[in-house]
């Protein structure tokens, strides 16, 4: 079970767990989910499950430790006179910060060691060679348990929410364990929050007919995105990115657009399978995508793409930095000196820089990932900086932002900027990314579109037609969703014959047009690698 669209997962594991979940008594249902989750984890990462178990026990302990400190503080505060309360609070904040520090060291430390040792080692060795030192560090080979980036972020949000006292720590370690390991979201997210999701996970609600139907439909839609579009584009993308030197700038544009399309279909398709799988158990997971390609700016794009990662960074990195005491002082002083617009921009940009640095690094240990983060930082920060001037210019030109042509222009511009970012993201290294970008701008021509090059990349006319029709289907559904029309609800209101015809049609579409078999290499779950 290397992916959520593997036949073993979709046709054996998931139906078996749904069946078992619904036949056992209510009390045992969360236990079934927990055991199934550990089995799923074991099937991919084997004995590395120890990392997950240690992480669960440790975060449970830290939560209870913080809670005992908070209770102790409240007892003392109740017996303390008002003027002395500030000192008591400060002392307990200090103690709690030590607990948080320890938790961060253990959890983030483990992630850093497993994920970034190789990157750190390679850079260290390059620096040593540059300095003429005749010694290299033999970089130890690290193994990574599946989903470590995701469950570590969930563990961190749990402990930070307990610290902020927006969450009571859970004494029930089983509930915490299921929150950390729930198999549909374990490998690629969405990154859940304890307050929003843990209770419903542990509730053990029986699956309703609607849960089963809606869940299965959502899974089917996700499979279609992944198998028909993402997997079909895979050969062409591999050819273009590995042999970029042989192609001109026109093909680099194709590489950027095709990979962006593949990434969206693969990741959002997997999210459909994940959210649909949870729905089969009556569990509602948070959405990770909201039609990102309707965004009118890069900052809006990141509120619609990988939403749970963005909100995690906003809540635990952006606001804590921009709202820290030194930053507040900076904002206050800067406002008085350089005005309302640029004043808060300094603190905001510093926090934004850290967010995008971490966002880049979270995606992988490589300079091109850092560059990917910095690219978005520059785009968002510069858009913030020039905002008043843009506003004035548009007023002078009598252009309304939310209307007609200008709105379309903004949507297309955002999509193109995203494609450039994804090219940097997909390229094997920063050097390759820069070469590909250079080609795009200095060696662009339409010749390779007409001389047969395009049809020699592993996709023939038939492949292009299937991808185009499938993308059109996704576009129509997305437009309906954007207008708040729920297709599954509409379908449920139709006659049984129509409903089954649509479902069978979609199944047949996946079977006939899915890119599988000897001539295709399905794309690996991209986000599982992060």
């Amino acid at each position: 079970m290397k992916s959520y669209v593997a036949p073993l997962y979709l046709l054996v594991f998931l139906p078996a767990v749904v069946f078992l979940y619904n036949i056992v008594p209510k009390k045992l249902r969360p236990v079934v989910l927990l055991l199934a989750s550990y089995l799923f984890f074991w099937s991919i990462s084997g004995k590395l499950i120890l990392f997950l178990l240690i992480s669960t026990f440790s975060i449970h302990h830290f939560g209870l430790w913080l809670s005992s400190l908070q209770e102790e503080r409240n007892r003392i505060l109740a017996e303390t006179e008002r003027p002395k309360r500030k000192a008591v609070k400060a002392e307990y904040i200090r103690r709690q910060r030590w607990v948080i520090f320890l938790a961060v060291c253990i959890h983030i430390g483990t992630l850093l060691v497993l994920k970034y040792t190789a990157f750190f080692g390679q850079n260290l060795n390059s620096l040593l060679a540059l300095a003429g030192v005749d010694w290299t560090w033999k970089i130890p080979k690290m193994v990574m348990p599946i989903g470590i980036s995701f469950y570590t972020m969930q563990a961190m949000s749990y402990i930070l929410d307990v610290y902020r006292e927006t969450l009571k720590p859970d004494k029930n370690i089983g509930r915490l364990a299921l929150y950390m390991a729930f198999f549909p979201s374990m490998m690629e997210g969405p990154i859940c929050r304890y307050n929003d999701d843990a209770v419903s996970l542990w509730e053990g609600r029986r699956s309703s007919v609607q849960n089963l139907v809606f869940g299965a439909e959502r899974i089917l839609y996700g499979v279609m995105k992944k198998m028909v579009i993402a997997d079909r584009l895979n050969i062409m993308i591999k050819t273009l990115y590995s042999g970029y030197a042989d192609y001109d700038g026109g093909m680099m544009v194709v590489a950027a657009i095709a990979y962006t399309c593949q990434l969206y279909m693969e990741f959002s398709g997997t999210m459909d399978v994940v959210i649909g799988s949870a729905e089969l158990f009556g569990i509602v997971l948070p959405e990770n995508f909201k039609r990102p390609f309707f965004s009118k700016s890069i900052s809006e794009f990141w509120t619609r793409w990988h939403i749970t990662l963005g909100t995690w960074f906003r809540d635990y990195i952006f606001y804590p930095i921009s709202m820290s005491k030194p930053m507040k002082r900076l904002t206050s002083k800067a406002r008085k000196k350089i005005g309302n617009h640029f004043g808060p921009l300094i603190a905001g940009s510093i926090a934004l820089f850290v967010v995008w640095l971490f966002n880049g690094l979270w995606h992988g240990a490589g300079w091109h990932y850092i560059c990917f983060g910095m690219y978005h930082f520059v785009l968002i920060a510069s858009a913030n900086a020039v905002e008043p001037y843009t506003k004035k210019l548009l007023e002078k030109l009598h252009i309304r932002r939310e209307e007609g042509g200008y709105k379309c222009f903004r949507i297309v511009r955002t999509a193109l900027l995203v494609c450039i970012g994804e090219l940097i993201f997909r390229a094997g290294s920063l050097r390759i990314a820069m070469r590909m970008l250079k080609k795009m701008f200095t060696d662009f021509n339409f010749r390779s579109f007409t001389d047969g090059t395009l049809l020699n990349l592993g996709m023939d006319k038939y492949d292009f037609l299937i991808v185009a029709v499938s993308v059109l289907i996704v576009l129509v559904i997305s437009i309906a969703n954007e207008r708040e029309i729920c297709i599954r609800q509409k379908l449920a209101e139709k006659k049984v014959v129509v409903r089954w015809a649509v479902v069978y049609g979609l199944i047949l579409f996946c079977i006939i047009f899915g890119a599988y078999g000897m001539n295709y290499t399905p794309v690996d779950p991209i986000y599982a690698g992060f």
């Binding site: 500030k86 902020r164 709202m323 507040k328 406002r335 309302n340 617009h341 004043g343 921009l345």
Partner: protein
């Protein structure tokens, strides 16, 4: 009195809004995240409170009434 002071701060930060009636300052993007940074810094100076990160949620900043209620609550909590 507090509300008037808050309106004054808001008008200084972002003059283009009707703060007396608006109930959707955040939801309708009238105040941006950068405006919120300014607002928090000014509220802390003006009312001698500390606004922790957990309070930075739309419901606390959507209207002058909500902002005033948050500041009053934080003042009481000391």
């Amino acid at each position: 009195m507090m509300k008037e002071q808050i309106i004054e701060i808001l008008e200084d930060i972002q003059p283009e809004a009707d703060y007396e009636t608006c109930q959707t300052l955040i939801d309708d993007h009238i105040l941006t995240s950068l405006d919120v940074l300014s607002l928090v810094a000014e509220l802390e100076d003006e009312f001698d409170v500390t606004i922790p990160t957990v309070e930075i949620i739309p419901s606390n900043f959507n209207s002058v009434d909500a902002i005033a209620a948050m500041v009053e609550r934080l003042q009481e909590e000391g």
